[in-house]
Symmetry: C2
């Protein structure tokens, strides 16, 4: 069906998963795809760099159109396949306003999550400070409380998060997670490495 599309992806990456869910929701199965390894630095391989000068995953192409940014790919797919599969942008102005607002707030959520999970990855050893990590964790808790309050929109970050977090502490996010994971598009794109390691690392155990 979607033979003119190519996706290079990494398992468990929210931006990759985002595009995969969008492809499933738009009934665009059967695209060319290749699972690459972040650990082996395959996202910096020539195969990726030829399409994506940033050397990042996802790397996505539809015909000659390159759309590597995951949000960009979602907008593009919705726009090009408007009447196919799930309608991803609601019609009503109020619903649309809320959807756009939460979608972009999600980037902040993702940033604050990464600042905790990948602190040691981003910050070289000699530059690390307990006070900085503590501040990042506090910012993430503030962010989580905001979302626990909102709880509105389909969001792959919630899936990433709840795997590592205590759902008892964020019950609404937990409930939402349980709904999300039953969705066919989410099942079809479930990160393969989670099958081996369902709980993940414990970087969020005190959040």
């Amino acid at each position: 069906m979607a033979k003119d599309m190519t996706l290079l992806w990494g398992t468990g990456s929210p931006p990759c998963w985002r595009v995969m869910i969008a492809l499933e929701e738009k009934n665009l199965q059967g695209y060319n795809q290749k699972l690459l390894s972040f650990e082996k630095m395959e996202h910096k391989s020539q195969q990726v760099l030829d399409i994506n000068p940033r050397g990042q995953l996802p790397t996505f192409k539809h015909g000659d159109n390159v759309i590597n940014e995951s949000y960009a790919a979602c907008f593009y797919l919705e726009s090009q396949f408007k009447s196919q599969g799930t309608k991803l942008i609601p019609d009503g102005p109020a619903e649309q306003a809320l959807m756009y607002q939460r979608m972009f707030e999600g980037l902040t959520f993702y940033e604050k999550l990464n600042a905790v999970i990948y602190y040691e990855w981003y910050v070289p050893e000699g530059e690390r400070h307990e006070s900085a990590l503590k501040r990042n964790k506090e910012a993430l808790v503030t962010e989580l409380k905001l979302w626990e309050g909102y709880l509105q929109k389909v969001f792959e970050i919630i899936l990433i998060l709840i795997r590592r977090l205590s759902p008892e502490r964020y019950p609404k996010l937990g409930e939402y997670h349980n709904l999300l994971k039953e969705r066919p598009s989410v099942k079809a794109s479930w990160p393969p490495h989670w099958l081996e390691n369902p709980k993940g690392q414990d970087t969020l155990k005190d959040i």
Copy 2:
């Protein structure tokens, strides 16, 4: 004309300016607006918090719809006023792919720019490292070279940047800046504090 819209904004903030340019391009002049001061912490005032729990500018409302995230507001305005003013999303798939791709890459650009300009603002004194600032500057140069290569899309960050940078070092960005600043929507929304201080701080002088 746009009496049912309210914008609370700060001068020279790219996200604020982005929304103001979109409003001008969509011929939505005459909205209610209030210039607030970041220095006086007015973005954390009750007036803002009532609409925007993050206490950030822009804070934007259309009727009862709150859309504070600047990209969200641009998408919303284009969608609600599709046939009014400038068409902000092109029709052709290739043009659309490129527009979305650059739009979201722009967030990375903005992030790398802020990591240099606001390094001392974000990082408490005891946690600062020359090596970190150096790395942030290198990342910004890499990013700038990418954009100097692309040079495609209307982008308010370029306006912010060229004010502080040597246009001789990035000639294509410089040319583009000169085109941009002649646009009526950009003139109508020019940051008032730039009139007083056209060159800005020198945090980017060695970039």
